[in-house]
């Protein structure tokens, strides 16, 4: 099993952010921000040194918690410092992005890394739909069409026109061609049957994030069954689980830290006003929304939701066994880990990477 370090590039003082999304830009001090990105890059370099085989990036907007709204820019910077790891773009959010632009960024990254790119296609969290004004009801359709267009743009040798449902381009001729042929290693990060089936039908890998092992296992079972129907089986590198981690020297120390977070009310962010959250979810589900009934939120906000909780908390043995369960039950071959919990400093994260590299990773590699 391989480990991937999620290069979140969190802002150093993210523990002070209000819970609601978006985080106001007034919280950003440029000098602190510059140093935060340098710290984040250093963490990626150290992860590579400690034996992580991938470094991943994820598109998230309007917050310093995962401060990579343009992950291709971040990936290009890190790829110049990390010379051997796979650079995993997990990924561009398909409903938000111009697929042709995404294809151009991805093929350029595959060239800059001489074929070290892994690309993942995601729909994004509900709040993200609002960043570029995408109707939540169209997110799934845009994701499916966007993936088709990106793969076509990477493989078609002559210029072409695209007559889609959501996209129309009369001239597509993406440069450069990818180094990996016919296209870079790719996966679909999803939980929905429609997108899982798409991955199986197109020989693409599967990414699952932030849900318990049994739920992940049920998705993985379906995926493998549909791959089988299409005459192939995924390789270990094509099955990726992304989880959140806090690793300490002992289970007791990890639990002590975890309890402290709860006492201080430091739940992770990306939360929304309840009215907004309800409307987004209803629209995503294709339901009619009666707006007269959703504007009843209080002035203080009624903030709901937020990022998922920690998947792996404990000392090395406990964390190893928790990760191993995703390998044994679900067939996951790559574990993509988010270390930058809001209350941690750069030094804390470096210590965790060191501990993980010494005490957990060698055992994972034997799986």
């Amino acid at each position: 099993m391989k480990a991937s370090y999620l290069g979140a590039m969190g802002y150093a003082h993210r523990r002070d952010f209000p819970r609601a999304w978006p985080t106001p830009p007034s919280y950003n001090d440029p000098a602190t921000s510059v140093q935060s990105y340098q710290d984040g890059i250093e963490e990626c370099e150290f992860a590579e040194e400690m034996g992580f085989e991938w470094v991943s990036f994820s598109e998230h907007h309007y917050s310093g918690r995962i401060a990579t709204g343009t992950p291709a820019v971040m990936a290009a910077a890190v790829a110049e410092r990390c010379k051997t790891v796979k650079i995993a773009m997990l990924g561009p959010l398909m409903p938000l992005n111009n697929p042709v632009r995404a294809a151009e960024e991805l093929t350029l990254l595959d060239n800059l890394t001489n074929g070290r790119l892994v690309m993942g296609f995601l729909r994004g969290t509900p709040n993200e739909d609002q960043v570029y004004g995408v109707n939540p009801a169209e997110g799934r359709g845009r994701m499916l069409e966007g993936m088709d267009l990106i793969l076509k743009a990477m493989t078609e040798p002559e210029p072409f026109s695209w007559e889609g449902q959501y996209y129309q381009y009369r001239t597509v001729a993406v440069w450069p061609r990818p180094v990996q042929q016919p296209f870079p290693a790719a996966l679909v990060a999803t939980r929905t049957d429609e997108a899982v089936r798409y991955a199986a039908e197109h020989n693409l890998g599967l990414g699952v994030s932030f849900i318990p092992v049994e739920d992940t296992g049920r998705i993985a079972d379906k995926y493998r069954a549909w791959c089988d129907e299409n005459g192939w089986q995924p390789q270990p590198d094509q099955m990726v689980y992304r989880g959140s981690i806090y690793l300490a020297e002992t289970d007791a120390l990890a639990q002590e830290w975890f309890d402290r977070q709860t006492d201080q009310g430091r739940a992770p962010g990306m939360a929304l006003r309840s009215s907004v959250s309800q409307v987004i979810q209803a629209t995503r589900d294709g339901q009619d929304v009666d707006y007269r009934n959703v504007f009843a939120g209080s002035a203080s906000g009624d903030i709901v939701g937020g990022a998922p909780g920690l998947t792996f908390v404990g000392g090395p043995d406990k964390v190893f066994n928790e990760i191993k369960a995703y390998h044994d039950r679900c067939g996951m071959g790559v574990i993509d880990l988010f270390f930058q919990q809001p209350s941690l400093t750069h030094a804390d994260v470096m210590q965790e990477i060191d501990l993980f590299g010494r005490e957990v990773l060698p055992r994972l590699k034997e799986l």
Binding site: D148, E156, P157, E158, P159, F160, S161, W162, E163, R170
Partner: protein
């Protein structure tokens, strides 16, 4: 989309058994749609061929370059059909450079009746050729995405190769 000023004659050749009806209906708002090349009269005309009809339209264009003003091949199977032992009609492929009029070749993205490289072969060999893929459509594009096909073909018939130039307004609040 075609404008109200569009004029001229379009001939649709369809051997697929009535699949051209949405295209016929869509184009007839702005063009005189003739049932055959014989019925087109003496003027130059646009020629649209569908499936095997596209192969006939291609043959007709090569034989009558003086009469075909613009050519649209929808799901053509003239070259590189799947299941063909050779995978290519070498004679037809060799003649593609002789097509003199602007030509649009349209494939459904999920069309499995020809090999994937067929599209680029048309594009490489026909001197003035555009290739378009229609998303969420198979071989019978008129059935799968009728409005998309009408809009695409209509725009090409009117503007030929300049159809790549965006002419829809992006203004939201003037």
């Amino acid at each position: 989309m075609a404008t109200a000023e569009s004029t001229g004659t379009v001939v649709i050749i369809d051997d697929s058994g009535g699949g051209s009806q949405p295209l016929h209906d869509g184009l007839s708002a702005h063009w005189r749609v003739a049932e055959s090349t014989d019925a087109a009269g003496s003027e130059r005309y646009g020629l649209v061929g569908i499936s095997d009809g596209a192969n006939a339209a291609l043959q007709h264009t090569l034989a009558n370059p003086e009469t075909v003003d613009v050519l649209v091949l929808v799901s053509p199977t003239a070259i590189r059909p799947c299941g063909d032992a050779n995978g290519a009609d070498a004679e037809m492929e060799a003649r593609l450079p002789n097509v003199q009029c602007p030509t649009l070749v349209v494939f459904g993205l999920e069309d499995r009746s020809v090999r994937p490289e067929a599209a680029s072969t048309y594009r490489e060999r026909i001197p003035n050729c555009n290739v378009a893929f229609v998303y969420a459509a198979g071989h019978d594009i008129a059935a799968d995405r009728p409005q998309a096909l009408v809009n695409l073909v209509s725009d090409y018939l009117e503007r030929r190769e300049t159809f790549i130039v965006q002419n829809r307004s992006g203004v939201i609040n003037p």
